[in-house]
Amino acid sequence: MRRELIGVMFLMIGGIVALWSEKFVPSVYGVVVFFIIFLFVDSFKKLKKDKKSL
């Protein structure tokens, strides 16, 4: 659920930036890239945590 919440939040922030900057494509795709970075870091953290618990 956390990923869904953050995903929607990122996309809506992208929308607000698009409205403000009038640059739709870079804003929306930009936040998708940020979301993927978040997923990457999240997975990495989880991996570290799992290793520690082992």
Partner: protein
């Protein structure tokens, strides 16, 4: 407790997805605010498609009682909803009409998330809901200002579909009862809903026969789902649902009937419901979309059968489409379409209940024959299939590093992709009438006198909304009487036009809103009337109604189609007309280049592919006056360059009523008065007869 938590999560997902859809749908509102020509009377112009004009007109009629709406209109529920919203929220009707699609169409997220939840794929359901709420043809047909029944048709259809899935999954008859009530509402809301709900019932029957022959509960559910198809009053159906459901629940618990008997009943009920659907005309609408008739025929007084062109084959959205268009409108890309199809089949393979999802996919494919509007059904399904494929792959490697990226990456990119298309599409949209046109219509076509506006049927519903006048043809009624408008527009004799329009409008007024052409043909004989009106021997009825003519640039692209309607089937056409968009004008080189044609201005030669034609005259029109004329030779082939935007070519129609009024403002002042002649719109009035 766990169940309650899951319900809470589903609820949060639905709320999140709904606000997401609402938020992005309002982007068009912010875009419209930047265009002064999209605003009138302090509001954004509410009607962005002709269909919106109908429902807005019904709401306006209920608020103002103007009396220009025909009583044959069947889909009045949305108009009533708009009326109630306006009345009780005290918001301006224009604002309610413009913004209603965002609030209603965003409801599509509810059934999609619930379907995902029921299939054990909540994340797939959630991301599919985000994508589908703004995707392709679903967005194209439900954006702000597109206030048509479609804004609720799809949420309703997919919610009914969800009740089928949940009935199959949980084997609970109560969901079937809820589904049957929704079906009943759907039938009342949308005149073409019955073929769709019948399709769902058929698919459900096939599912039972294929996969659930031993599940007696599903057989009982079938009986409940079949109730809304009964040819009795909706209230009786509702009572039957409430009475029969508890009875069937008891019978199902006590296992009174053996499954073999139930199987036999369903096997028999399938063809019986098909027969009822056929006999009652439920399937007629679907059949007319697939088999478009070429002509409308009626009997003349003389006994002769007269035929006129049929309209459905010329309605853009009802015309069959290509595979490329199917892919574009349903998914936006061949990759998404193919992966979505593979994912959908995989989903059906893994979860049998998903079999029901194949129906909207098949309806999408039928659009190849039935028209682009049907691709909308496939939009959410292809998205679900596409995301399920990546979800399945993620699950396959879930122990591996960064497995989540395999699902969430494509999901987020898919949403972004559809948002990008939505943004591009928003920039292509504009209201049906711009601010200046609304101003002219409001000023000149809202006079106290009772009257009619003669124009092509595309303008009908929007004109009902902005004026207090009637039309003889409209977006819902465009068959026999198209001839009256088309004949008017392409007739050269203006005196004849004046008599012809007076006669048919007064006759139509007596029969309003039913078609007048077959009636007068049977009563007087069509050829007699035409001949009499031509030579002035036919007595024209006295004037009871004002007659106006409204044209704007939108009619230009319709001219070749209108011309087809201007002649009876046995008549030989007088000439032809075509239209092309301008690509480039080079006055130094003397070349006007269109998308399909090229004109050599120096020699008066038109080139179309390898074919060359000599033209007589070339007019330059700025929308109000003729700014320049090139005269080449005495030839009836004439070209007009209009607003540097269109090239209109015509052979033998340059003296017709339409060309003389629209381009030259040159109507006979004995018969016609120019009310408005601006760049945006042209309005004339019949005064002579």
């Amino acid at each position: 407790m766990q169940m309650r938590n899951r319900a809470k999560i589903v609820f949060i997902y639905i709320v999140l997805a709904y606000f997401f859809a609402l938020f992005f749908r309002f982007f068009l509102y912010f875009l419209a605010l930047k265009h002064p020509e999209f605003q009138f009377g302090g509001h954004i112009i509410s009607i962005w498609t002709a269909d919106a004009g109908l429902h807005a007109s019904i709401a306006k009629e209920l608020l103002t009682h103007r009396g220009n709406i025909p009583h044959y209109i069947s889909d009045t529920l949305l108009g009533n909803i708009l009326y109630l919203l306006t009345k009780y929220t005290h918001l301006p009707l224009d604002s309610v009409v413009f913004t209603a699609p965002a609030f209603f169409a965003s409801l599509i997220v509810v059934p999609i998330i619930l379907i995902g939840y029921e299939l054990g794929l909540l994340q797939v359901g959630f991301w599919s809901a985000l994508a589908a709420s703004v995707a392709m043809n679903y967005y194209f047909r439900t954006h702000l200002g597109y206030t048509d029944t479609d804004i609720l048709n799809f949420p309703l259809f997919f919610t009914i579909l969800y009740t089928y899935i949940v009935t199959i999954k949980r084997k609970n008859i109560l969901f079937a009862a809820a589904g049957a009530v929704l079906i009943l509402f759907f039938h009342l809301f949308y005149h073409s809903a019955k073929p769709l709900t019948f399709g769902l019932l058929l698919f459900y029957g096939i599912y039972i026969l294929l996969f659930a022959r031993k599940e007696s509960v599903l057989f009982y559910a079938f009986l409940i789902y079949a109730l809304p198809l009964l040819p009795i009053k909706p209230l009786y159906i509702l009572l039957a649902i409430f009475a029969i459901t508890p009875l069937l629940i008891v019978i199902a618990k006590r296992r009174v009937l053996r499954v073999q008997w139930l199987l036999l009943v369903v096997a028999l009920l399938l063809p019986v419901s098909g027969y009822i659907a056929y006999k009652k005309g439920y399937l007629q609408r679907a059949i007319t979309y697939i088999q478009k008739s070429k002509e409308y025929s009626f009997k003349d007084k003389s006994g002769e059968i007269i035929s006129l062109q049929s309209t459905l084959k010329t309605v853009a959205e009802a015309t069959g489409i290509s595979w490329k268009q199917l892919v574009t409108y349903s998914s936006g890309s061949i990759i998404i379409f193919l992966l979505g199809t593979v994912g959908l089949l995989l989903l059906v393979w893994h979860r049998k209940e998903a079999f029901m999802l194949l129906l909207p996919y098949i309806i999408g494919i039928i659009s190849l024959k039935a028209g682009v509007r049907f691709t909308t059904f496939a939009v959410p399904i292809i998205i679900i299939g596409f995301l399920y494929l990546f979800y399945f792959l993620m699950k396959k490697i879930q122990e591996k590093r960064f497995a989540t990226l395999l699902f969430y990456g494509p999901a987020a990119f898919l949403v972004a992709f559809y948002l990008q298309i939505m943004d591009v599409y928003n920039h292509m949209l504009s209201p049906f009438f711009n601010a200046k046109q609304v101003q002219l219509i409001s000023k000149h076509l809202n006079t106290k006198e009772r009257g009619y506006i003669l124009t092509w049927w595309d303008y009908g519903w929007p004109l009902w909304y902005y004026s207090n006048k009637r039309t003889i043809i409209d977006n819902g009624k465009h068959h026999y009487d198209n001839y009256i408008v088309a004949k008017t527009l392409f007739s050269n004799n203006q005196e004849f036009v004046a008599r012809f329009d007076r006669f048919f409008i007064e006759e139509f007024d007596k029969r309003f809103p039913w078609p007048v052409i077959p009636y007068v043909a049977k009563r007087y004989g069509l050829h007699n009337i035409l001949q009499g009106l031509q030579d002035g021997t036919w007595r024209v009825p006295s004037r009871k109604n004002a007659i106006y003519y409204y044209f704007d640039d939108k009619i230009l692209t319709k001219l070749p189609v209108i011309e087809e309607f201007a002649f009876l089937s046995e008549e030989k056409k007088k000439g032809f007309v075509w239209i092309d968009r301008v690509r480039m004008i080079d006055m130094k080189k003397g070349v006007v280049q269109g998308e399909r044609v090229s004109i050599d201005l120096r020699n008066g030669i038109l080139q179309f592919g390898s074919q060359k034609d000599r033209i007589g005259k070339f007019y330059f029109s700025d929308g109000v006056k003729i700014s320049n004329t090139f005269y080449y030779r005495p030839d009836e082939y004439v070209l007009i360059l209009y607003k540097n935007k269109y090239i209109i070519g015509t052979y033998r129609y340059i003296n017709s009523f339409f060309f003389q009024s629209f381009f030259f403002n040159n109507l006979d002042k004995k018969f016609f008065q120019t009310i408005a002649f601006t760049e945006d719109a042209k309005i004339f009035k019949l005064i002579g007869e």
